[in-house]
């Protein structure tokens, strides 16, 4: 589309509507993002909660296992059995002691799921284990083996705990030094941590499914009370000491409230922002109308008025900065144009030499004043005067002096004509005319005499004149009341006749 066919209004409205549309699209996108961000954030927060709960459960488990091991290795029977094993290799007493916690329910019910008790010598070589059904690889788990072997000095006296992957599932082992500060061997207590990890469901108050590293369901407290759509599944992987995934804890969070909150928030977001956008659009349209389209219409109207000839038109209304600059430039142009036109008008009406009205202006003024005099039925007088023997003056003094003479005559005429309605004009060559509205013949004669008196006082020399040694003029006056039998041409002819008579009567006189 050519640019000339696009209006500013259409462009502005288009931009505003495009902004509105874009805002709508962004809002829709924001609403979708808010929803997914809320669920993602909830998921991350809950994963962190599960992580903290799992770590706390493992910490409590470690404490309990440590307590169990400490109590066991503090018993005299244990020490005696260990001494016998170390002294003569007799393992039966040690077996019996290690069987004891299982037989007598040494472990507090509901606190630990004891899997295995194993004893090692100071160099971590296996000495014996209880004869439970659980089959574990012989020797320390590799993770504990590595950690224990890396320790020296005082560190060897500290108990070590680690989550590791056994053949049937993840297990937790605590390795305690036996023999107090002088280590004679080590006791490894192996428990199944999945028994304790069910506490995560209680701590987080969420239904939970506990999976082993192989994906086997070890525990599940999830119930199908609520449809899955209203539950958010949060997965947390509890790693073993070697970094391998040991457990998957999948908790289900009831997101009914969250979903309602998101819906509510989205509604507020959409409604609030939509309202704001609408208000903004209305405001933008009102603003453009007031300060853009209105001024442009005004500007156009003013320009058309100016083009119609009324250069007094100025633009003065509230508008935007750029339009204000444009309007001021237009006003300046109109003012300058009016000045130039006035200047040209004056030039077109003025005689260049005498600064009196020229013949053209005089003719127009005569027609105008004649019409007025006809309406008002007032008298109209006309004086025509001619410089006597002006050809001789030019011949004698030269044309520049002749021009000067005419200038002086013009100035004296201008002085003689006092009323603003009177018009003095250079009628042609050395001939002048004075149009006197509302003036009778006596009044015209009075003005003519005053002029002749002024001219005499000026004492302009005219050595070549046969009439006088000074410049003189002959004056013809005509007056009439405008009517059908006396028109402008007749008035002019009458004045001309009077002048003619004055010339023939010897010049330097007034005839009427």
């Amino acid at each position: 589309m050519p640019i000339e066919r696009i209006s500013l209004r259409a462009l502005a409205v288009g931009v505003v509507l495009a902004l509105g549309l874009l805002s709508g699209l962004l809002l829709g996108f924001a609403a979708l993002t808010v929803k997914s961000a809320a669920f993602e954030s909830q998921k991350k927060s809950l994963a962190r909660v599960i992580e903290v709960a799992s770590v706390e459960v493992i910490r409590q488990l470690d404490q309990r296992v440590f307590g169990l091991g400490t109590s066991l290795q503090a018993r005299d029977e244990f020490r005696v059995a260990l001494d016998r094993k170390l002294a003569d290799g007799e393992g039966a007493p040690l077996q019996a002691v290690l069987r004891d916690p299982f037989v007598h329910g040494f472990v507090d019910a509901g606190q630990l799921d004891l899997v295995k008790l194993r004893v090692y010598d100071a160099a971590l070589a296996p000495l014996g284990e209880n004869d439970s059904k659980a089959r574990l690889p012989s020797g320390l788990p590799p993770v504990l083996q590595t950690q224990a072997a890396a320790r020296t000095g005082v560190e060897r006296l500290k108990a070590l705990g680690a989550l590791w992957l056994g053949p049937t599932g993840p297990l937790y082992s605590v390795l305690l030094p036996v023999g107090g500060l002088r280590v004679r061997g080590y006791l490894e207590v192996v428990v199944d941590p999945s028994f304790n990890l069910t506490a995560v469901a209680r701590m987080t108050r969420m239904p939970m499914t506990l999976l082993g590293a192989d994906g086997r369901v070890l525990h599940s407290s999830a119930s199908p009370e609520k449809p899955e759509a209203e539950m958010l599944a949060v997965d947390y992987v509890l790693p073993a000491a070697d970094g391998q995934p040991a457990f998957h804890l999948i908790c289900l969070d009831d997101v009914t409230q969250l979903r309602d909150d998101v819906r509510h928030t989205t509604f507020i977001l959409l409604a609030g922002t939509g309202l704001l956008v609408c208000v903004f659009l209305l405001f933008a349209i009102a603003f453009f109308n007031r300060f853009l389209f209105g001024p442009v219409r005004g500007l156009q109207a003013d320009m058309e008025r100016c083009a119609g000839g009324d250069l007094s038109a100025t633009i003065d209304r509230p508008m935007l900065k750029e339009f204000r600059v444009l309007a001021e430039s237009f006003n300046l142009m109109a003012r300058q144009l009016a000045g130039k036109i006035e200047e040209l008008r004056l030039l077109s009406c003025t005689d260049g030499l005498t600064a009196l009205s020229n013949r053209h202006h005089f003719d127009l003024a005569l027609v105008l004043e004649w019409s007025r005099a006809r309406r008002t039925q007032n008298l109209l007088s006309l004086i025509i005067l001619d410089v006597d023997h002006f050809k001789l003056y030019n011949d004698h003094y030269g044309h520049p002096a002749g021009d000067t003479c005419l200038k002086v005559v013009g100035q004296l005429l201008n002085r003689a004509v006092r009323r603003p309605t009177d018009i003095a004009a250079r009628y042609g060559g050395e001939e002048f005319a004075i149009l006197l509205p509302d003036t009778d013949s006596a009044g015209a004669r009075c003005i003519a005499e005053a002029f002749m008196s002024d001219l005499a006082k000026a004492r302009l020399p005219h050595a070549a004149s046969p009439t006088s040694q000074r410049v003189t003029v002959s004056i013809g006056i005509a007056s009439c009341r405008a009517a059908d039998d006396c028109d402008a041409d007749k008035l002019l002819a009458a004045a001309d006749d009077a002048l003619y008579r004055a010339k023939h009567a010897g010049r330097n006189r007034i005839e009427s």
Binding site: F66, V154, K158, G179, L181
Partner: protein, 142 residues
């Protein structure tokens, strides 16, 4: 007026007692002048050395009975006298090591300060005490 005063005074006492009961126990001083501050690891090194210091457990008797550092002697700070200490360590050059429950227990610091005042020149103070020992899963004697 009198009735109001009679009500206000017990209320203030009750409020103070409640505050005092809930207020956390004060922290033991960071150091005891004349005594050397040691960690759990340094304690192990000291008590496994050829000439270990006399270990004095300043906790309550029932706490001691539940478990204590190997070789420790129970000596509550209020029971500590010069004569009792002299029976355990006659010479002032004999090293002594005091501990109690942990950094919120002031008994071992009081005892250590007292021992320094009585002229013992090698006084060790295990500020972390029982709390640090068990947190580090170190061996416990019963």
């Amino acid at each position: 007026m009198m009735l109001r005063a009679l009500l206000v005074v017990p209320a203030c006492v009750l409020a103070f007692a409640t505050f005092a009961a809930h207020a956390e126990k004060p922290l033991a001083p960071p150091t005891v002048a004349g005594a050397m501050l040691v960690s759990a690891e340094q304690v192990v090194e000291l008590i496994t050395a050829p000439l270990p210091p006399v270990l004095l457990d300043s906790r309550r008797r029932e706490e001691f009975d539940k478990g204590h550092l190997e070789g420790a002697v129970h000596m509550h700070d209020t029971e500590l006298t010069r004569e009792k200490l002299a029976r355990l360590a006659a010479a002032p050059e004999r090293a002594l090591l005091f501990y109690c429950n942990g950094e919120r227990c002031l008994r071992s610091s009081n005892s250590a300060r007292q021992a320094v005042a009585w002229g013992y020149r090698k006084v060790y103070w295990f500020r972390g005490g029982w709390q640090e020992w068990t947190d580090k899963h170190l061996p416990v004697a019963h």
